[in-house]
Amino acid sequence: MIPLSRALESSIGRKFVMSISGIALVLFVIVHLLGNLTLLVPDGGVAFNKYAAAFEDLGPFLYVIEMGLLAVILIHIFWGVTVTLKNRAARKKAYKEGIKTKGGPSNMTLLSANMIFSGIFLGIFIVVHLWHFRVRKVTEAGKIYVEGQEMTNLYGLVVEAFQHPGWVAFYMAAGLVLGFHLRHGFWSAFQSVGAMKPEWSGAINAIGMFIAVLLAIGFLGIPLYLFLM
C-alpha cells in the first residue's frame, strides 16, 4: 500500500494527475467545440442563443459544473507547473552545447519539449476568454426575443468581437496552440497512466494527431468564418 498523499508526490502520481485532468479537459474541449458549431448555422444566431440558454436553464447546477471545470483546469496548471519545475531541477547544469535528438522512435520535437509554454499560453487564453465572453455575457450582452422568449444575445457579443482582426488572430492562435499541446498531450496522457502497449502506440499517436488537427481547425476556423462572413 502507498498512502495517497505519498503517491501523489511521486513522479508517477504527478503525471497520473496531469493525465486524468488533461483527458478531462480534452473531453470538455471537444464538447465545447461541438456546441460552438451552432455559431455556423445561418439563422441569425437563433441556434447558438438557444444552445447558450440551455445552460442558463440549469440554474445553480451550472455553477457546480463551472466550478468543477475550473478545479480541473487549476489542478492541471498547478501540477503542470510543479512537474516542470521539478524536471528542470533534475538538470541544473545544462549541456553547454545543447542536446540533439537521435530521431528514430523519439518524440522529441519543439512541441513535446515545450508543453509548459503551450500550456502557459492556453492558461492566459483561458483567463482572457473567460472575461471576454463569460463575464461580459453578464455585464455587456443585450437581450433578444427568440420565439417570444427573452434570451441573452450571446451570439451578438461573439459576432461583434470577431469583427476585430486582433481578437480573430488571438483566438486563431489559441486554436493552433491547443493543437500543438494535444499533438503530444493526447498520446502522452495514455502513456502516463500505463494504458499503453507497443501495438497500440501507433494508433493512439495517430488518434492524437487527428484530434489535435480537428480541434485546431475547429477553434481557429469559427472566428475566421465569423470574421469573413
Binding site: 508517477i12 524536471n87 502516463s192
Partner: protein, 253 residues
C-alpha cells in the same frame, strides 16, 4: 578498402574535480584511422597529453564491446554519439567527417554528479536496483527444464527489458534527466517472469521512491531515452512500470 586517415578537432569537457567549474578544451588529432573507435581516439590523444605532462582526459570504459555499460559520454549533443543502438566504445571514427569538430560532454544530471572530465558518479542507479531490483524469495535448487512454463513472447519481452546495461544514456538524453527507462526496464524484466511477479508491486513502489529520491525528473513521454538506449529498450517498459506502481497503490504489501 582502407579509407584515408583523417584529422579531427576534439572539443572536450575538462573538469579537474567535482567542485571545479570546468571548461571546454580543444585538441586536434591528425592521422586518425577511420576504423578506430571513439574511445581509441581518446586513448591516442591521452598518450600525447601524458607525454607532454598534462592530465589525460578521464573517461570510463571496460569491455569496449558494447556489453558492460561502463562507457558513456555525450558526443555532438547525442548520448553515445550519432549512431543508434551503439555504445560510445562501439562508435567508430568513420561516422565523422575529416576536419570535423567533435564536441564531448559528460552525462549531465543532478543524479549523476561529475567526478572528473567525462566520468560521472552513477551509483544512484545502483541504489535504485538495491531498493528492490531483485527477487528476494529463495528459489531453491535449479528446477527441471521447462517445469516453469513461460510463453515465448513473454520471455522475449522480459529479455528485451533485461538487456539494459545500466549505462545511464537514458538519463543523459532525457530533457528531464529522468531515470524512468532504466527503472522501468528492471521492473518490467522481473514483473514479466514468474519468479519476479510475486513481488512486482512492492518492487515498483520501492524502486520508484528511490528513483525520485535520487533527484531524477519525471517522464514526459518524449521517448528520447529509447532513441539513445544502446540496447534500444522500448518506453513500453515505462508504461509497465506505471501500471505496477499504480497497482501497488491498491495492494497490501
Amino acid at each position: 578498402m582502407a579509407q584515408e586517415s583523417m584529422t579531427v578537432h576534439l572539443k572536450v569537457w575538462r573538469q579537474s574535480g567535482p567542485e571545479d567549474e570546468g571548461e571546454f578544451r580543444t585538441y586536434t588529432q591528425e592521422d586518425v584511422n577511420p576504423d578506430m573507435s571513439f574511445l581509441e581516439l581518446l586513448d591516442v590523444i591521452n598518450e600525447d597529453l601524458i607525454k607532454s605532462g598534462e592530465d589525460p582526459i578521464e573517461f570510463d570504459s571496460d569491455c569496449r564491446e558494447g556489453i558492460c555499460g561502463t562507457c558513456g559520454c555525450v558526443v555532438n549533443g547525442q548520448a553515445h554519439g550519432p549512431e543508434r543502438g551503439t555504445t560510445v566504445c562501439q562508435l567508430h571514427m568513420r561516422v565523422f567527417r575529416h576536419g570535423e569538430t567533435i564536441v564531448v560532454e559528460p552525462w549531465r544530471a543532478d543524479g549523476f554528479p561529475v567526478i572528473k572530465d567525462l566520468v560521472v558518479d552513477r551509483t544512484a542507479l545502483d541504489r535504485i536496483i538495491a531498493a528492490g531490483g531483485y527477487v528476494s524469495v529463495k528459489t531453491g535448487p535449479k528446477p527441471d527444464a521447462n517445469s516453469l512454463k513461460i510463453p515465448k513472447p513473454r520471455a522475449d519481452a522480459a529479455f528485451d527489458a533485461a538487456a539494459c546495461i545500466g549505462c545511464g544514456a537514458c538519463v543523459a538524453a532525457c530533457p528531464n534527466a529522468s531515470a524512468s527507462l532504466f527503472t522501468g526496464a528492471k521492473i518490467s524484466h522481473l514483473a514479466m517472469l514468474p519468479q519476479g511477479k510475486a513481488e512486482s508491486t512492492r518492487r515498483a513502489k520501492r524502486m520508484v521512491e528511490q528513483m525520485d529520491e535520487e533527484g531524477f525528473g519525471a517522464c514526459s513521454n518524449i521517448g528520447e531515452c529509447e532513441a539513445a538506449c544502446p540496447k534500444e529498450i522500448s518506453i513500453d517498459v515505462i508504461a509497465r512500470m506505471r501500471r505496477e506502481y499504480l497497482k501497488s497503490m491498491f495492494t497490501s504489501h
